[in-house]
């Protein structure tokens, strides 16, 4: 029996890719004898797939490109197979065996097929990155290539210059990262071009990508039967998706990355770089949106999220999902910064402590006695001490070297343990040195 949730995820993916969802679709048996699917056939869709005629727009070097989506259909996954002496030996087994892991066998799978609209390996990679993001936003997959929850086969053919007809297509499998997709395609272009230039034909076949060499090699099945004898699965009845069901799912579709990116630029006034970084990670953009929902000023929140917070997450190898720091914490930190309670360097320090402990910025600042010194009497003492300790820079500044002031501000900041308000320090120094304004 068909899993309703799987069907709905398939429809959501189709809608996110602007497909036409078929009012009626049919499940078919694809018959083949292969150990990765021991029951002898795969449940798939053939003549009447779930959805057709979609599109996805992505950017290549800043320019928009659109790829047509031919079809989106549901099928069941096969077992994962390991062959090849190296892979089998690496798993500690004798040669001459293929190893099968049946854990994912029978699990529902969404297959997305594009039209041949991609023209270069880097386009294929950009397309896949955008597709991955759309699927992640839609929530139909956790899109982990390393765990196989997103996989990709690439077909490539060359078209002789001046000809409207594409040549023979070769399918490449075993592509475990988008980088490999780009490399495998680049290698295939070279290989096929060399064959054609030598007047030899390209063979229609399935090849596998070899990570070690960055090349491809034929992946020949020992069976030559390509007749899958598709027929409607007698166990599975028709799937009918009426307009009401489709509308309910359409309403569940979240804002897509491209729309979010445009909104961040136009409505929130974010710089391009920050809008791009935030929208290219769903957890990061959720963090950002929760922070502004709690009163954070969008540009400041974006700046700190993309800058300092991302840097700290990298440095401490914390993923956005594991973050102990809450959006409310960031908003609180920015309030402390705005109020002059914390200087920027102190705010960075507090952010790091909050990120590691999950304690609120206010609690961290209090516990460490980190409050900014804005008291002028206190700062004047420090300024006087620094001026008498550094007569050289003082003379330089008086002689017209503006940069010497920065040095003196730095010395006062140091003397205060980073707690002085740098603007106030700058002003006090200028006053003392008689070059106000």
């Amino acid at each position: 029996m068909l899993n309703r949730h799987a069907v709905e995820l398939g429809i959501l993916a189709a809608l996110a890719l602007e497909c036409r969802v078929a009012p009626e679709s049919v499940f078919a048996r694809k018959n083949y004898f292969y150990p990765d699917l021991p029951k002898g056939y795969q449940i798939s869709q053939y003549e009447q797939p779930l959805a057709t005629d979609g599109r996805l727009t992505f950017a290549v070097a800043g320019e928009p490109r659109t790829v047509r989506i031919r079809r989106v259909h549901l099928e069941e996954d096969a077992g994962k197979s390991l062959h090849g002496d190296d892979a089998v030996r690496a798993a500690g087994h004798a040669e001459g065996y293929s190893l099968l892991d049946f854990n994912r066998c029978g699990v529902p799978l969404i297959e997305i097929v594009t039209e041949p609209d991609l023209r270069a390996p880097e386009e294929a990679r950009s397309f896949l990155e955008t597709l991955k993001l759309v699927l992640e936003y839609t929530g139909v997959s956790d899109v982990k290539l390393e765990e196989g929850s997103l996989r990709c086969d690439a077909n490539i053919s060359l078209r002789p210059k001046g000809s409207g007809e594409s040549g023979v297509a070769v399918e490449i499998k075993n592509l475990n990262s988008f980088r490999f997709v780009q490399r495998a395609l680049a290698h295939e272009i070279e290989r096929q071009a060399a064959l054609l230039d030598a007047g030899r034909p390209v063979v229609r076949e399935t090849r596998q990508y070899l990570e070690a060499t960055g090349t491809t090699a034929p992946l020949r099945g020992k069976e030559e039967a390509q007749d899958y004898r598709y027929f409607p699965d007698p166990d599975l009845v028709r799937l009918v998706v009426d307009a009401a069901w489709q509308e309910r799912l359409q309403a569940r579709l979240p804002e897509m990355p491209a729309a979010k990116h445009a909104r961040y630029l136009d409505e929130l006034g974010l710089p391009e770089h920050e809008a791009r970084v935030l929208t290219s990670s769903l957890p990061l953009s959720s963090f950002f949106e929760q922070a502004i929902a709690q009163g954070g000023e969008p540009r400041a929140v974006a700046n700190w999220t993309v800058g300092e917070l991302c840097r700290l997450m990298n440095a401490h190898a914390v993923s956005p999902c594991e973050l102990k720091l809450t959006p409310a914490h960031l908003v609180e930190l920015l309030q402390l910064l705005d109020a002059g309670t914390l200087s920027r360097p102190l705010a960075r320090e507090v952010l790091e402590a909050s990120l590691l402990t999950g304690n609120s910025p206010r609690a961290v600042a209090q516990a460490r006695g980190m409050t900014q010194i804005s008291n002028e009497a206190e700062l004047t003492l420090l300024v006087d001490r620094v001026l008498s300790a550094h007569p050289g820079p003082v003379a330089d500044y008086l002689g017209g070297k503006e940069r010497a002031l920065g040095f003196l501000v730095g010395q006062v900041m140091r003397a205060s343990g980073g707690r002085a308000n740098p603007q106030t320090v700058g002003r006090l120094l200028k006053e003392k040195l008689g070059r106000e304004g």
Partner: protein, 94 residues
């Protein structure tokens, strides 16, 4: 169906037959195909293909985990096993 075609299908299905059985299979399959030929004489140009005897649509189950065979039980059926893997004679060439 001749003897070669039956052998081909048998090889795909990993079945082996004696000469007598091969002959019997070919005879049986030819009888079935002859019957299909008879059915093909009916004019079905105006009839939509029918995949099921009853015609409901949208029979679903909910996405609820339920007990199934454990990996241990499953792997007992494998010709050869090691750890989480079932081993079979290698089925691709390099």
């Amino acid at each position: 169906m001749n003897r070669e075609q039956v052998l081909h299908v048998a090889r795909l299905a990993r079945l082996s037959f004696t000469e007598d059985e091969l002959e019997e299979m070919a005879r049986g399959m030819n009888a079935i195909l002859a019957y299909i030929d008879l059915l093909k004489r009916v004019d079905t140009a105006a009839v939509a293909p029918m995949a099921h005897a009853t015609a409901p649509a949208n029979v679903f189950r909910e996405d609820e985990p339920a007990p199934s065979l454990s990996p241990e039980e499953w792997l007992q059926a494998a010709p050869w096993r090691s750890g989480p893997f079932a081993g079979v004679p290698r089925f691709v060439e390099e």
